[in-house]
Amino acid sequence: MTGLEVGAVVAERTVHLTRQSLVRYAGASGDFNPIHFRDDVATRVGLPGVLAHGMLTMGLAVETLVPWLGDTGRILEYGVRFTRLVVVHAEDGADVSVVAKVGAVDADAARIDLTVTHADTTVLGKAQVRVRVDG
């Protein structure tokens, strides 16, 4: 874990989601809400299309940070607001980009701010990870 200066980008990546990613996440997580794999249900409840699970976006966002952290056990707290939908097109999928930046540092913890975007729009609000920085 290096580069703990406020404003420093410590990790970033772009993940390409497809409908298969959503089915895989549904199976792995147990979240079988049909709005994540059925166009007809998504349309019926007034959505613009099949959506990525918010928890998939949240999960892949924090994983961007783990190789830099070195140890998942450094994560003390992680919270997000789901502010915008990630619509996953049947053919084109959807790209989700994550930038992890140091937001604040104190004696034993740091706040890492995640900026998570899809189609040039921020999709997670106040996506913050508090991490332990001692030994």
């Binding site: 792995a28 997580s29 928890m55 190789p67 998942t72 994560i75 919270g79 997000v80 607001r81």
Partner: protein, 146 residues
């Protein structure tokens, strides 16, 4: 949505045994690339007994508790009209393969929102020794009936 659910504490879920292959499956699903999630030797080098689950794996246990809420005949919640608004995890330690975890759900808030309601709930996840592992807090936006 039934406002009388506020303060309700549900019975603990049946113990969930975290399997190594389940952790690997979940890691792949969230595009986790670090070997601590898939390689026992890498996890052991960090001091863990077995592979370490990605941070949001706690949702699998939280989801078992939310199923209890959805199953309440009086809750008025329809899954496909439910939107996840906020999520937070507070960790004492990461989840590791071999853990036997139990979740206990408490509904901490219900407030009207449009035709529906915002429901806040907390799932406290503990291990076989009763030790705290993680508390998962979620805010769900429950749509009203059409």
């Amino acid at each position: 949505m039934n406002p009388e659910l506020v303060g309700r504490v549900f019975p603990p879920t049946d113990p969930y045994l975290v399997g190594r292959e389940k952790v690997r499956e979940f890691a792949r699903a969230v595009f986790a690339t670090d070997p601590q999630h898939t390689d026992p030797a890498a996890a052991q080098a960090l001091g863990y007994a077995d592979v370490v689950a990605p941070p949001t794996f706690a949702m699998v246990i939280q989801d078992l508790t939310l199923q209890q809420l959805l199953a309440e005949p009086e809750s008025g919640i329809v899954l496909e009209r439910t939107v996840h608004a906020e999520q937070r995890f507070r960790y004492t330690r990461p989840i590791v393969a071999g853990d036997e975890l139990t979740g206990r759900l408490q509904v901490t808030g219900v407030r009207p929102f449009g035709k529906g309601a915002m429901v806040t709930s907390e799932a406290e996840v503990t291990d076989a020794d009763g030790g705290h592992v993680v508390t998962a807090t979620s805010v769900l936006l429950i749509g009203g009936e059409e």
